[in-house]
Symmetry: C2
Subunit: 134 residues, 2 copies
């Protein structure tokens, strides 16, 4: 169905995972569990693994195989220098986008207060008086 969340996660999920890895190295299953725990309940396991493969191939993380007594060995991902640079870029992009969107929300709150037709100056004023409804 492509819920709002699904589409909004595109582009941000990578940054979220990088941020998690910045705090401390982790493996896929752990990251998935943590995200689910933090509210992303519907997040699919496969999504995280695919993302990890991507950021590994782009060289944002270093990988270490650690044997576990339960199941197959864990692939522990550690953020490296390139990853930190990417994370910085993510924060910059996020800051810009969040700023624009918060600006929109602020403008909306502003417009709800006034009942008086205060507007006369729109930036674009092509002023079509041609009311010819076809």
């Amino acid at each position: 169905m492509a819920s709002q969340m699904t589409e909004m996660l595109k582009g941000t999920l990578e940054g979220i995972v990088l941020a998690i890895l910045e705090a401390r190295p982790a493996y896929g299953y752990e990251i998935t569990a943590q995200l689910r725990d933090e509210g992303f309940a519907d997040l699919a396991e496969g999504t995280v693994y695919a993302l990890l493969v991507r950021i590994e191939q782009r060289g944002f993380v270093d990988v270490t195989k650690v044997p576990s007594e339960k199941g197959p060995p864990r692939k522990v991902y550690t953020l490296n220098a390139a990853g930190r640079a990417q994370l910085d870029e993510f924060w910059a992009t996020w800051a810009f986008l969040a700023g624009r969107i918060e600006h929109l929300r602020a403008a909306r709150t502003d417009s709800t207060t006034s009942t008086t037709g205060t507007d006369s100056g729109s930036t674009h004023r092509t002023t079509d008086s041609t009311e010819g409804d076809d």
Copy 2:
């Protein structure tokens, strides 16, 4: 290019346009110009038109054709009740996601300062007990 921005806009651009339309009805070319003016300089014209077609087909907007003395008639989009509901959903999703991400940023700033355990954080405890090598 698929810069950070491109992927991050997926899912958010629709909400942005709906928010713009909430302020006042507008037509495609105008919306594109406004977005470019507000910092989204690289935004493609075709992107906005495709998005408008989408939200029209989903019934979030009402459309009125208004002839202009320059070029073809404008398709003026007006947010309707369904659109406002969708916009509300957008704000809710955005608030949640922004909250999570800001939380990540805060945690990151926090961890750089000291080693004092701010909280147990993860309710999850999958943490490595693998100390005792297999």
